[in-house]
Amino acid sequence: MECALDAQSLISISLRKIHSSRTQRGGIKLHKNLLVSYVLRNARQLYLSERYAELYRRQQQQQQQQPPHHQHQHQHLAYAAPGMPASAADFGPLQLGGGGDAEAREPAARHQLHQLHQLHQLHLQQQLHQHQHPAPRGCAAAAAAGAPAGGAGALSELPGCAALQPPHGAPHRGQPLEPLQPGPAPLPLPLPPPAALCPRDPRAPTACSAPSAPPGAAPPAAAASPPASPAPASSPGFYRGAYPAPSDFGLHCSSQTTVLDLDTHVVTTVENGYLHQDCCASAHCPCCGQGAPGPGLSSAAGCKRKYYPGQEEEEDDEEDAGELGAEPPGGAPFAPCKRARFEDFCPDSSPDASNISNLISIFGSGFSGLVSRQPDSSEQPPPLNGQLCAKQALASLGAWTRAIVAF
């Protein structure tokens, strides 16, 4: 269907409608808000798929120009973690981001890819969390990369992690961002449509009247199935010992990915920092109580902490230090997500885009008040500190818009 508005404008308009419905006479109209949330979901799916496609294309161009570089900014971690089997060498080269030079050259694109990936991670976390998937995704991805022939299959099970791997190593270059089905016009990632949007029932994607994702996207069952067959048996043990599994953190802090670069023997852990901070802001985040991410890994944790700010400094200057969790996970003061992040995210965004973040921040602050006002409401979403980043709002929009209409 041709639509005069692009996905972003639709999101903006929809949020405006939801916001104005709060002040309408007669109270919030549940039916109308529910319908608006469907439009929001549809627009977001298209929006994310477009962004992934665009960044994938950019990444492709960039990688073709740049030979792979070592990840010199990563710390040397591999043998510090106890219990790490030698089979780690089996894993293929996986790196976060491109080479340092490439990053310096295309910081915005990489940064955006990273952020987009984090958005996507969150979706998948919501799915995986349902299934109590024990193994960190990084593990499975690492394992999957070690089996190039079966890479497509294994990678397909954990598309989120796959996205973290830029198509660096030749055999994996195009693959991680391929859709689950090979096709002439691949989408960068299979979208997590209904499953993510109905986080509590990913097993029944058809129960949510989900639009079919853009053609070629994987059925949600595929995206939701990864927990069924995780990575080879050896790796989960290793990674679980080394780093806490995503499920350990609970829903909010669970987006953590670990990859191992066999060339440099660098283990890299990426945490979804801003979510982490938000989670720490709320009372019941388990990770905040821990001084270290996992038992008996103080060295690893320490290395991780060291690595992260270092990486930050070497990456693009636009990086907001507070954004990607420069603070250690334990007891860090909350650094509000800066709204400017949204503009970084979409440098060519229309004026409406900044309105989105305005609206979300208005809405975010008012929402918990809205929910608490209604005696009939069931569990409230955890209160979020500070202002919401629009992109975070976009990320969590699925469950979030449900909560919007919940009152």
Partner: protein, 451 residues
Amino acid sequence: AGGGCCCCGLFWYRDSSPKPHLVNRFCILLAADVISTVEFNYSGDLLATGDKGGRVVIFQREQENKSRPHSRGEYNVYSTFQSHEPEFDYLKSLEIEEKINKIRWLPQQNAAHFLLSTNDKTIKLWKISERDKRAEGYNLKDEDGRLRDPFRITALRVPILKPMDLMVEASPRRIFANAHTYHINSISVNSDHETYLSADDLRINLWHLEITDRSFNIVDIKPANMEELTEVITAAEFHPHQCNVFVYSSSKGTIRLCDMRSSALCDRHSKFFEEPEDPSSRSFFSEIISSISDVKFSHSGRYMMTRDYLSVKVWDLNMESRPVETHQVHEYLRSKLCSLYENDCIFDKFECCWNGSDSAIMTGSYNNFFRMFDRDTRRDVTLEASRESSKPRASLKPRKVCTGGKRKKDEISVDSLDFNKKILHTAWHPADNVIAVAATNNLYIFQDKIN
């Protein structure tokens, strides 16, 4: 309050010629506020309207009168009263609108008339009764009501009933309140004439007309976690003959038929009506336009009709897989959904209605257009409810919307449609060819010419 009645002589009349020869006689009645519901009573002699200001205006059909032969069938204002007032829910800091969402008549059992009217939260049973006699000759008070001095009373007399000008009184007999958390969208009187149902977004309650402090919850689709909410109830109606059967429609375009004999809580449906979605017509707004805004049983009880944003569908109760008829109301709007979303028109809730013999159905559209579909002849017509296009004693011209290409004479292009002029509420007389069409705050009544 209600307005005056102005009549012109236009007749609506169908003969055997290939094109229906439409002549209309109509009343235009001007309300002070936007009309929000229209409903004929069981005999069709009374027509009730509710408006956004909480008022109910009842019109009565003129009886045949030899001295005024042309006045047969005119509807004149019969009674006006304030049904609901705006309220404030202090607990939730919410204002409750006084807008009348639905009016449903009760079958007449004595000289008085009863109707149910509801706003978002409260249903009221009103008794409308006539008073045409007055007692005169009281002992203790004068004719003008002043008390008489007891010492002046020297004789006793029996008061006499004398005729007076007809006075119509409306009094609230029952108030059914505090049973709905969400906004009431439907009420429906059962064929047993003792009970009725009321439906909000998530729940349906069953009431007894005599009992106001209790209601039974018979449908509850509220999920344990509101974040899992995927659909709401949009309309509900009792079967016209089977007092244990009712249907409710959802925002997902499905209809569930429930039998109250099967269990106390009718969360499990007996029948489930859904037409599979056409994947090729998928869009951002697919969910919105598939949401059902009205459901109506046929008078026979064999069929039901649903209205979604672009079409009306007729369902056979014996076939759940798909409707037996689909009529496009304004398919030319499909390419305009984006703008209609922006201006909120896509959320408009159109109603639909059957004629007395179930051979025709009617529903409204934009630009003060309304559509009629003849199920037997498969013909449909677009008519307009406006003063300008309805001249006295002239036929109502069928209208046509030009969807593309060259616009013919008398056609209207899609872009020049006025989306503020919408006809959401229509009603058809239960026996005769008389229709009531609400266009914002104007009520049009069109009649068939009786030869």
